[in-house]
Amino acid sequence: MNSMIKIKDLEKYYRTEEVQTVALNKLTFDVKEGEFVAIMGPSGCGKSTLLNIIGLLDDPDGGSFIFNGIEVAGFNERKRADLRKHNIGFVFQSFNLIDELTVYENVELPLIYTGVKPADRKKRVEEVLEKMQIMHRRNHFPQQLSGGQQQRVAVARAVVNNPKLILADEPTGNLDSSNGNDVMQLLTELNDQGTTVIMVTHSEHDAKYSHRIIRMLDGHKVTEDILV
């Protein structure tokens, strides 16, 4: 299978007034299309930083990042945004739904920004909501939902555009185990249908859903567990 993501010697520093933190230190690894990869490691080791760079929300300070065969390290904000909106879906630990929008509208948002026609949007949103079993709540606002429901909406929003890659940063971090399992189930299903998934997690249990676990320490990869 093709490599979707090729990362080589990736570096990221954070400079504050006095200290410079090395968040990513010569990190190298690949992710193939259709893979389900879990990233684990102690707090502060650079997992989120990595995910943000893969998600084109942030740019690296060094190294190379090839996404679908294109070198994207050094892309400007607009190019990154363009690539992002057609290819990548995000799921966050804190859901990040827009409080002023209903469930339906939150899910519809990515379609609006990629310019999908209203009729198609409706079909697509309903389809996804159905799949995430949250259709009955379509006109509710995020605050009126439980955490598990909110995360299901977040997942629905992440997949509505049929992205090739889903990035999930501790998607179960704010959920109890039963809701957490539901979300993992959803991610697995998506992966089965061909979507590449990269997930950051602190839970060994959740990591078991993946094909491969990358373990990090101080900004670089220490081991890799192949599960399948």
């Binding site: 990040n96 002023e100 990515p110 920004y113």
Partner: protein, 799 residues
């Protein structure tokens, strides 16, 4: 997509009711007030510009140089009309001789209308000016001397809806045929008459009265500066050059006699309303001040919006972050925020228009104008449209730029402390708002003190409890008999018969005066009034030297001058006993009256000469009676005077005028303008406060967790209020420091148009500063206290 934006915008408005109300009410009040101010400014500026050729129409002023100072008079001599025929740049010249307080009746004297202003005009009047002739033939309105053109409302009063042309009216015991009906003069016309007669009528009366010395016709009379005169010049003609040509022609005929030296000036028709002939621009400046107020109103309302919406961007950062993560680009977000502003702005605009509509009667009564008339003028709409568009751009673009530029990652993490630049700008804008408020407070205080100052000023005579009654001219022959009849009435303290129509506007001036020690070429424009020996005591004026008139025949050759006249003539002591020649009548100065105000208080006191009306057989000079009474007996006195009045058969209904009322009326326009200014200043300050309220509320809300923690740790309510209020009060004090010198300078220059003025004292500045602090404190503390006394558990839970 657009629909989606509107939907979101609407929902945002609904969900943040408090801020929406602050935003909308601030904008709506600002817009409504600005629309009204602009309407007023527009109506002031539009004066006389409805004449198609107003740019080429000028009015004459005559400028005399007196002791090195220029004095300007709004009337010019009649022969200028003759000169105009041979001055090539002149297209047309029209003279107007107007008289106020005239009476016209219908033929049967069933209906008598008094208090009318009538004019005698040259035939070109109706082609020079574009007043609407609704009935009659525009180019042939005066077939003969006994023609009259009246306004529509006059026509209605006399004849109702019936056909008016050909009907007869009576004026000064002569019959006139109505040959035309004019639409009522527009509100924004400087020329306002009830009836217009042909110049031939005035010309006839002038001849019948024996002319003026050797000059028998108005076309020859070089001495009387009695015509308000308009010229239309050919396009591109140089008005100054033309004026000089007229001056030269006049001075040639006068053989360049230095004693008759005058310079004619031309002032454009459009400037006539706001700039007095002598160049006093105080009215014009007031219009500029109001324009500034309108701009400030809009600016302050805009600043509120910008400040509060960028401050709240903290709250909206997460939304921006999420939108960006799911694919929104900067442009799309930019438009989203622009549309939000447009929605809010449109709601505010609708409310503003409703407010304007509701406030219309109030505006009309305060300003003395009709809002609907201003709105009938198309140019107001472009002004308003322009202002709205400018404001909309100002308020929408900046916040949209700030918000849409947020980086997605930090926004999501809530790390978007607004940039230092934005915070500094917000502070600067708050300082600006409060500086403006302070300036406006100083303005209100200064304007109202100045108005009070004028009203309370020592005029040099006692204007209280004196009223004047204008008797018919026929009665003047029996002036002494009437006086002695009236003096029998115990409620009357004193009566004087004079030729003075209005004590606060003695505007009959002459330069026909010679005195010993007069320097070659020195001439003096001196106000003249005929009085009797009772006048000075009746008005409680003071003589600084010499004696009053005696009431004896010797008065005929006696003159009394004021202190300013003595000074300007350059007379040496002893003044009493000096010979002067007044209108060729040689006489003696018998007394000097202490300077008193007989003109607008904007102008300094000018020279004045009293001559006695002793033995005058013709009316002018002693048909206007001044009666002094006391507070309690005014009504009784008026009744007594009316009894005397009714003995004389006349068309003119009895009427009286209290001198103090007449005086106040002169400043009514100023007072109205002052009130209007106060009103809009108060609104501007109110809008600033709304903005401050929004900002503090938001600050308190953002810091709610901090407040909770501090409280748990033992901070008192006092401590917390101080914490929240401190920053804002610092800004307000900074604003006061910046505003004070500006306010002082602005108001000082406004006051400089008054000859009698107060000073902008430090007390006024201090008072304004304190008011600003108090207003700001009240606004800010309300929210601060609310936040500080809230239960800390509750605030800690709000996350």
């Amino acid at each position: 997509m657009i629909m989606n934006y509107f939907k979101i915008a609407w929902r945002n408005l609904k969900q943040n009711k408090f801020y929406s109300i602050i935003h909308i009410s601030g904008l709506a009040i600002g817009l409504a007030a600005a629309i009204m101010v602009l309407a007023w400014v527009q109506s002031e500026k539009s004066f006389d510009t409805f004449h198609k050729d107003y740019k080429d129409i000028y009015v004459f002023n005559a400028q005399f140089n007196i002791n090195g100072e220029n004095r300007v008079w709004g009337g010019v001599p009649g022969p200028l009309a003759v000169y105009s025929k041979s001055i090539s740049e002149v297209g047309k010249l029209v003279r107007i001789n107007s008289e106020s307080n005239q009476t016209i009746s219908d033929i049967d004297r069933d209906k008598i209308l008094g208090g009318l202003t009538v004019a005698a005009v040259d035939n070109g009047f109706f082609s020079l000016f574009d007043f609407n002739v609704i009935e009659g033939q525009r180019n042939h309105l005066f077939p003969d001397v006994n023609s009259v053109v009246i306004t529509k409302s006059m026509a209605n009063k006399f004849f109702g809806d019936h056909n008016v042309l050909g009907k007869t009216l009576k004026y000064r015991n002569e019959n006139f045929t109505v040959t035309g009906v004019l639409e009522d003069f527009p509100e924004n016309s400087s020329l306002q008459y009830d009836a217009i007669f042909p110049m031939a009528l005035y010309s006839k009366e002038f001849k019948a009265g024996g002319g003026n010395g050797d000059w028998k016709t108005i076309d020859e009379d070089l001495g009387n500066y009695s015509f308000q005169t308009f010229v239309k010049l050919h396009a591109n003609a140089d008005a100054n050059k033309v004026a000089n040509k007229f001056t030269k022609r006049y001075m040639d005929v006068r053989n360049n006699d230095p004693a008759s030296k005058v310079e004619f000036k031309l002032q454009n028709l459009a400037d006539m309303h706001l700039i007095t002939p002598d160049g006093n621009k105080s009215a014009y400046r007031m219009v500029q001040v109001f324009l500034l107020v309108a701009i400030l109103l809009l600016a302050i309302a805009s600043i509120n919006y910008i400040n509060l919406s960028t401050a709240r961007s903290l709250t909206r950062a997460k939304e921006v972050g999420v939108r960006k993560v799911v694919g929104a680009n900067k442009k799309q977000l930019f438009f989203q925020f622009i549309i939000e502003t447009i929605v809010l702005f449109s709601i505010a605009l609708i409310i503003a228009l409703v407010l304007v509509f509701l406030l219309k009667p109030f505006y009309n009564s305060v300003s003395g104008r009709h809002l609907e008339t201003s709105f009938g003028n198309t140019s107001i709409w472009s002004t308003i449209g322009f202002a709205l568009l400018g404001m909309l751009m100002a308020v929408s673009i900046y916040p949209a730029m700030v918000l849409s530029a947020f980086k997605p990652l930090p926004s999501l993490k809530g790390k978007i402390a607004s940039g230092v630049g934005i915070v500094a700008l917000r502070k600067a804008l708050v300082v600006f708002q409060f500086a403006v408020s302070v300036i406006l407070i100083v303005g209100t205080l200064v304007i109202s003190s100045q108005m009070k100052h004028i009203r309370k000023m020592d005029l040099g005579y006692d204007k209280d409890y004196v009223f004047s009654v204008s008797f018919p001219i026929e009665a003047a022959k029996n002036a002494n008999a009437i006086k002695s009849e009236l003096e029998k009435e115990p409620s009357i303290q004193m009566v004087s018969a004079t030729g003075i129509g209005d004590m606060s506007q003695l505007d009959s001036e002459t330069s026909d005066l010679e005195w010993s020690g007069q320097i070659q070429g020195q001439n003096l424009l001196i106000a003249q009034a005929s009085i009797d020996n009772n006048f000075i005591p009746t008005m409680k004026m003071q003589l600084v030297e010499g004696a009053n008139f005696s009431g004896l025949p010797s008065d005929k050759t006696s003159y009394i001058v004021n202190e300013t006249a003595v000074k300007e003539m350059g007379l040496n002591e002893p003044i009493v006993g000096q010979k002067i020649k007044f209108h060729n009548n040689e006489g003696t100065i018998i007394g000097v009256v202490k300077d008193f105000n007989f003109k607008s208080l904007r102008d300094p006191i000018s020279p004045l000469l009293f001559n006695s009306n002793w033995g005058t057989q013709w009316g002018w000079g002693q048909n206007i009676f001044y009666v002094r009474t006391t507070a309690g007996e005014a009504q009784k006195t008026i009744a007594a005077v009316k009894k005397q009045y009714d003995k004389i058969a006349t068309d003119i209904p009895f009427s009286y005028q209290f001198v103090d009322k007449q005086f106040e009326a002169k400043y009514e326009a100023d007072t109205k303008t002052g009130n209007l200014f106060n009103f809009f200043a108060a609104l501007t300050i109110f809008i600033s406060c709304l903005g401050l309220l929004g900002l503090t509320t938001y600050t308190a809300r953002v810091r709610i967790k901090e407040i909770g923690v501090r409280k748990v740790l033992g901070a008192s309510v006092n401590n917390l209020v101080k914490l929240l209020v401190k920053d804002f009060i610092f800004l307000v004090i900074l604003a006061i420091l910046i505003a004070s010198p500006i306010a002082w300078w602005l108001m000082d220059s406004w006051l400089s148009s008054y000859a009698y003025r107060i000073q902008v004292s430090w007390q006024i500045l201090l008072l304004a500063g304190c008011s600003a602090v108090v207003i700001a404190l009240l606004t800010v503390s309300f929210q601060a206290i609310k936040a500080a006394i809230a239960n800390p558990i509750k605030s800690l839970r709000t996350e």
